[in-house]
Symmetry: C2
Subunit: 728 residues, 2 copies
């Protein structure tokens, strides 16, 4: 089944052409961007429909904002409750440990990790649409919060003069840990509050699609950078433990048992290792966020809001698809937004989910968010009752818990060579995001990676492939001449395909690929021809040349010495506005009797395959019109084929069509255009209709002027029109 196996069809049999148009029904006139799947009903439509039954209406509105009203009434107590309880207890234990551990990343006292594993679940229970995710803290997001906390409240800000303090070993200065921690908790909770506000705004504006910009390789690079940052931040905590206990501690990182060992070993006394000292018992009253800090953390909040949401939704979708229910992306934004606003008021840090914890909740039988609320109950018990028992827990144990999670993230580095082989651009996005996230920090690095990703899209659209196309004999198929054997270009016809939309950034590329495909520059050819015409006219006037039916010939007996050379780059004396136009029939591809170097024009038609031109901007429309006119002047007709349906109406709006550029230059397929051209060539009048005019010219007494590019603004690079207007 290789090219050429297609049964032979004599071209004569296909000698028909159509110029089909879309039916200009309402649908035909629709904007491109209106041809999308129907939008969800607007609020007004919702309201109208709901008016029919006011009781039902109230319930519907409430249900769309409080998904709990939908699933809780259908809760199957007998079947699900036991599973949910078992799952909730297991998840709660994991959440307690993770909450404590991730608080280290935020650089707040570990007890606040417990709050962060408790409060957000309360709101998500009412507002969330995922039945399986375990809401709470998550390493990468915690670290992003932590980097803001550390940059806004570094240790250096809280130095107190230690020489006056009692009990110090003479190090001179001490850190006022109490006010430092208070400040850090305030910053973390304020940031959480701001993240919540942003998420609610994103949800209301329905821009959940923003997550789509987090391309796969971008997330890969970002994750690896995050793992690197987490590792660096935790290693010093782990290394705080003396080496004696180091191995022992690492081997038991997954058990809470570790608490007991720490307790028994009484490490604090023996080795002065950092342990968890202040697990608060009970609750702190809600505190308002420090609004004055908002301006300093807005960029970081933006990144954190997006990442936290993206993680939660992607995990949620896994289970939604597995159990065949839908997750509402915008409602999730609102649910997490309110959860973060609520928990931010209670000194928590940003909540999302973790796949590991969610996997525990689901695999132990969790059916609904009832399991989530029970896990919150377990965390609550830790807060109010177990605090004392957790106090001797070593920080290094928690840090090891964090680090043990990183292996998979680091392993991603090995994806890069494969990615490079498969797609160099994607590999570059990976590396750029990773390096940027390490150098600029996670929040700015994410934004930089995001912009870089978008830039690669622009560049790929801006530098498309292009080529001259030819016919596969016996078929109506046209393929790139370079890539296929036995592909034949129709005589006198060039076919160019430019595989990209055409817009301001690549219109130059279109022009240069056009020039290199046809082999000459239409403007230069025209100007050189004009110059030659002027010379011929002068010579005719002087009687040295004669225009005959067979073209222009030099009079016998007169040699070429008198003819002007082509070395006068400034021969512009005749560059005045023309008074009238007279055409002289010249065969430009034959040897001319004047010495002007005129490029050969071996084609009479140019077909532009617009199959991949999905949109045009205003610059492109004007430039294409200019291209048509430039070729028209040197007797090359330009045709368009395989255009997208919306193109014609777009061109109409842009005033593309006029007396010269008419709609009959558009064809459904390249083959239709070729057949039309062949038809025209066969039936066109081969008689020379210009003979009379030549005689006229010979007898004319007045000098005859020829049109030249007298209005550069009009004829030339329209792209720069505005720039020149600016420069006036």
């Amino acid at each position: 089944m290789a090219a050429g196996e297609r049964a032979e069809e004599p071209l004569a049999e296909l000698s028909h052409y159509v110029v089909a148009r879309p039916i200009y029904s309402e649908a035909g006139f629709q904007e491109e961007n209106e041809r999308r799947p129907p939008l969800p009903p607007t609020l007004r439509e919702r309201a109208q429909a709901a008016c029919r039954c006011s009781r039902k209406r109230a319930f519907q509105i409430a249900r769309s904002f409080l998904p709990i009203l939908e699933w809780l009434p259908n809760y199957r107590v007998k079947e699900w409750l036991i599973s949910d309880v078992i799952s909730g207890v297991s998840t709660g234990l994991v959440a307690t440990l993770q909450g404590l551990a991730y608080a280290l990343l935020v650089a707040v006292p570990v007890g606040y990790g417990l709050y962060s594993a408790f409060f957000p679940i309360l709101t998500y229970f009412f507002l969330g649409t995922s039945r399986h995710i375990s809401v709470g803290p998550f390493p990468v997001v915690s670290l992003m919060v932590g980097s803001v906390v550390l940059s806004m409240a570094p240790d250096d800000n809280f130095l107190i003069d230690g020489s006056n303090a009692t009990g110090t070993n003479g190090t001179g200065t001490l850190i006022d840990t109490e006010s430092r921690d208070a400040q850090r908790v305030l910053i973390a909770s304020t940031l959480t509050f701001l993240v919540g506000i942003l998420q609610v705004i994103f949800g209301v504006l329905q821009i959940g699609f923003i997550v789509r910009y987090l391309a796969d390789p971008l997330v890969g690079g970002f994750t690896t950078a995050a793992a690197f940052q987490v590792l660096v931040s935790q290693l010093k905590i782990v290394l705080n433990v003396s080496t004696k206990n180091y191995n022992g501690v690492l081997s038991i990182i997954y058990t809470i048992v570790a608490t007991g060992i720490s307790y028994a070993a009484d490490l604090e006394k023996k080795y002065n290792a950092g342990i968890v000292k202040s697990i608060p018992r009970g609750f702190l009253p809600p505190e308002p966020p420090e609004v004055s800090l908002f301006s300093q953390m807005i960029a970081a909040s933006f990144s954190i809001a997006i990442v936290a949401y993206a993680i939660a939704v992607s995990v949620g979708k896994v289970y939604a698809t597995k159990y065949d229910y839908a997750i509402d992306g915008n409602q999730e934004f609102i649910a997490f937004g309110f959860s973060n606003i609520f928990s931010g008021a209670f000194s928590c840090f940003v909540a999302t989910t973790a796949l590991s914890r969610t996997a525990v909740q689901e695999s132990t039988g969790g059916k609904t968010q009832v399991a989530g609320i029970i896990s919150a109950g377990i965390v609550l018990i830790s807060i109010v009752a177990l605090g004392k028992l957790l106090e001797p827990l070593q920080k290094s144990v928690l840090a090891a818990v964090v680090i043990a999670n990183l292996k998979g993230m680091f392993m991603q580095v090995f994806d890069v060579p494969r990615l490079w082989r498969q797609n160099k651009v994607d590999a570059m996005i990976w590396v750029f995001t990773c390096v940027a996230s390490i150098i600029l920090g996670l929040d700015l690095g994410l934004l930089a990676g995001l912009l870089f990703g978008l830039l690669t899209v622009v560049l790929r659209v801006q530098f498309p492939s292009w080529g001259g196309f030819g016919n596969i004999p016996g078929t109506d198929i046209y393929k790139k001449v370079k890539d296929y054997k036995n592909v034949i270009e129709p005589e006198g016809v060039k076919i160019l395909k430019f595989s990209s939309p055409i817009f301001y950034a690549n219109i130059d590329g279109l022009k240069s690929s056009l020039k290199s495909t046809v082999g000459f520059d239409a403007v230069k050819v025209y100007n050189k021809r004009l110059k030659a015409l002027r010379k011929i006219q002068k010579l005719i006037k002087k009687g040295k040349l004669k225009a005959t039916k067979n073209g222009i010939i030099s009079e016998p007996g007169i040699n070429n010495e008198a003819f002007e050379t082509d070395e006068d780059p400034e021969d512009n004396e005749d560059l005045q506005v023309p008074t009238k136009e007279v055409e002289i029939q010249v065969d430009w591809n034959s040897e001319l009797p004047v010495k002007v170097n005129i490029p050969k024009v071996p084609i009479h038609s140019l077909i532009l395959d617009f199959g991949a031109v999905t949109f045009l901007d205003i610059v492109a429309v004007r430039s294409i019109k200019t291209i048509i006119r430039e070729f028209e002047r040197i007797d090359v007709r330009v045709y368009f084929a395989s255009y997208q349906d919306n193109l014609i109406s777009q061109l109409e709006r842009s005033a593309f069509f006029d007396d010269i550029v008419r709609k009959d230059i558009f064809f459904l397929t390249v083959h239709d255009a070729v057949l039309y051209i062949r038809n025209q060539m066969t039936y066109s009048d081969n008689q020379d209709p210009i003979f009379e005019k030549i005689s006229l010219m010979q007898e004319s007494k007045e000098p005859i002027e020829f049109t030249e590019t007298s209005h550069p603004d009009d004829e030339l690079d329209v792209q720069e029109e505005a720039m020149r207007r600016l420069a006036s």
Copy 2:
């Protein structure tokens, strides 16, 4: 020539199909981005060629960096010198006035405008490739420099306590104009120096193409905002003149004569109007730039470097095309870069060109930059000799000169409604850039507009048009079903065209348009079918159903009461890993004996028209593979048609092909694919090969398990794979 006029061809005559492949020659394997016009010779190639003749080599290298070596030896003294002198004198007079006027925009003493009209010409004379532009100051660029100057050295910084000063009228505070002006000159010249460095870097890196991102509507909006800023900054200078003289002054704005009137009227004494007091005579020694200021002005320098270059090149190109010579974009960057570095050292502000001044130079007969150097001579005379005469020139006159230039720029506002009708996106770029440049300032506004422009490209690629396609009877043409009458979809075949490259940001769009085109969700259909299969199997075990050759029927006498309902969303007891697979032949589109709501699948084939898919990223490749497998599972074959030539090798690199996804699903045209499918349908074995298996199942003792989506990672949304890995 409407659709349908194409001569009728019975489809039977076209019943052939080809799967053509590019010849995998070297060219065939080339990267997309290698298929561009040949690059200019590399340095090594140049060097090799030049080795042949060492004398010639030295000259060639020198000539590429010093274009003067090319044109000056060919200077035709007799023909050109007189024109150049006349042109130079005229341009010099204009340059003197403009230099003084534009200095007001920079907020430096007007004399520095004369320097800026003199120094840059000296370097450009040697380095520039345009023969006609008049190098020197330009309003918009001057204003951009001025906004940096004013923000870094506002009047407030130079208040001195006036109560102790003599001769004041008791206003309390005075401005130390001398130190203020010195500081402002330093800032302007440092900025100019930095702009020069950036331009040289851009030139060496050969990124002149960056100018392409300045889209036409962007420049329009930017220019209008610039005009607005210029107007605001100059109005207060004009209004400094008392109303008595206001009309008189405005009526003579174009004459230097105004100087005389100002002088005669001795306005300074009478009205205390601001006049040009300090025109320096002679030169200041070169001063090093204040490097410590670089970091504060880097963003503005970037914008200014681009705008100054873009203006010069666009004006230069007009005349280059008119007189048929080439401008080297990268050399221009270098020429202006060195000019700005050089003139920055002599207390100048940024040089570019102005169309008005260049038009004077060209229209008065300027042939080469000799005219430019003569105009510099005229400015030099003003500096050393005429300074005293220009001193009484009123600032308001100069300001009026500036304002009079703005009319054309303001008139552009009237373009916006037309632009909106023609292309809404371009109109939005105009408005956004204009508003951003007014609010954020010209430099940041330009960058914002630039980013916005790129974003619109991404969005247009991200939200393409799409639709189901059908056959125009009697042809091999396929058009959108919505837009065309009499378009017929082949039975059992859906044809979808997605008119855009496919990448991370629109892969979701592809999936949802696929769902809405085919009318069902392949994953859901598969899961529902599995659920039904499990129920059927149970019922068969219980003897309530029987699998026969005609499908599955319920035993007579047993009613449907016992059948399970479809209301169990958590029916996952059987969701274990399957032990073996047995297929049961079920006609899924007939009424099933179990109550499960299974969407109908009215198609057996799906053709994706990839005519506009110019590139795929790694996410897209994986997602498409997933799509193929998801449809395969519900017995829908997926085919691809009209693909771009580079697609196959790209897919090969990305490990797209395997045992299930083979290359024979790719066809050159949609029609080929349709004919192939029709062929397959006709000749395929309509016998039921599954009958034996059903009998087997009925007799099987063990329960039989069915495959379900047991690996969500593998089967589902691959886009989010990395995100989930992050969340683990």
